[in-house]
Amino acid sequence: MTDKTEINRDDAMIAIEYGFGLLEGEELLTARGRVASDPAFAAEVALWEERCAPLLDDVAPMEPRADLWPQIAASIEAQKAAQSAANDDAASNVIDLQSRLRRWQWTAGLTSAAAAVALAFAAFGPGATQAPNEIPQTQLASADPLVAQVPIGDTGLRLDVTYIPETEKMLVGAIGLTADGVHDHELWLVPADGSDLQSLGVVTPGEVLSMELPETIARNLGDGVGLVLTREPIGGKPEGVDAGPVVAEGAFSQV
């Protein structure tokens, strides 16, 4: 922005603006990212929050309805049950995926380009005879998994979405997320060509789900393609009504 009427602002000012909730859009996302990654900036935000918190005493206190606590308690009980259930069968659900994921994490962790190329070569199996540097770039790219992280507000929680081209499988990990008992969250692909959003289904809190993608969706996947998460009634967006509010967004990038 080169708005001439704007006065210069330092990080402290951006921290205040963020803390007050004045920012929107890209500026908000940038500031949010900095809170997560920049301890000095996060401390500045926290300092302002602490300074201004006494102002919240001026807000009129209000009694919530009496049955809200039982609802909260029930939601927490349900989550506890879901967590222990997830611990029991998560192993069988994700066991097939874990060895693959481990390999990609390893891939992602490699910083040497040479090592990355060598590993990609190995991934084509012992039958591949080309020298690593002769592998066509497009072939490499199309075989590489796509990953997306969809952060949920500034909760520190996020959805992890991984697409594995070779099996056409997509993994949606919502570990740490919990159901509130009144809403479901539906994940949508935002095709790069501007066509209609495609539903990737309702997210299952606390689990890693594996699904096979139909070709109509798979062909829209690619580096930079966006994902949005919407809040819907239980069961997902009802037929014939608009999708609910977007609660989180992310984009795919290639490992």
Binding site: A53, G176, D242, P245
Partner: protein
């Protein structure tokens, strides 16, 4: 005055801090104690920001469920527990306000609910027991239009763009008003520390 700890008393604060520490240690029962001590204040904050009973109830539920999930985020050596909780509730409510509006107001406009009765002031846990915090006087010392707009940002969760629209001024003008006001606020606060 009745005997026993008042909501603003040091005893009440200590009890709350203790409950927060127990919650972080995995004692779910501590949450009910935290809820009963803070719900009136936090619900008031959620309602003020969201302006809608249903949304405020959802936000309040979200605040306590989140607190249960991530109680370890609270550092008892740093902030006062009620100050931290009030800020947490405000931030969650603002998040809800923003995400609901992403992509051109996907949230249906609900009919304005009648304003619920405010709870008696004595029931709420005070952040600033003595009302001695410098921020009150610093904010009051700001000139208009900065003061009113900074208040709207803080208490109603308005963004620069919304404030500019309400005041019918260009966005850049609103930003300048608020930033100048914020710089004065900062100077005033730092002078008092």
């Amino acid at each position: 005055m009745v005997s026993g700890p008042t909501p603003a008393s040091p005893e009440a604060r200590e009890a709350l801090r203790d409950a927060m520490v127990r919650l972080a240690d995995g004692d779910s029962a501590a949450l009910e104690q935290i809820y009963s001590a803070t719900r009136v204040k936090l619900y008031g904050i959620c309602f003020r920001i969201l302006g809608d009973t249903k949304e405020a109830e959802d936000a309040l539920q979200d605040v306590y469920v989140n607190l249960w999930q991530r109680a370890d985020r609270y550092d008892p050596t740093r902030a006062s527990p009620i100050s931290w909780l009030a800020t947490f509730a405000r931030n969650r409510a603002i998040d809800r306000l923003r995400t609901g509006k992403v992509r051109g107001g996907a949230v249906p406009v609900e009919e304005a609910a009648p304003l619920p009765d405010a709870a008696p002031l004595a029931d709420q846990m005070m952040i600033d027991g003595e009302r001695a915090a410098h921020v009150h006087t610093c904010l009051e010392s700001l000139e208009e239009p900065a003061q009113a707009n900074i208040r709207s940002a803080f208490f109603d969760g308005m963004t620069y763009a919304e404030l500019a629209e309400n005041a019918d001024v260009p966005l850049g003008t609103m930003k300048s008003w608020i930033r100048r006001g914020m710089m004065k606020l900062r100077t005033c606060l730092e002078a008092g520390e």
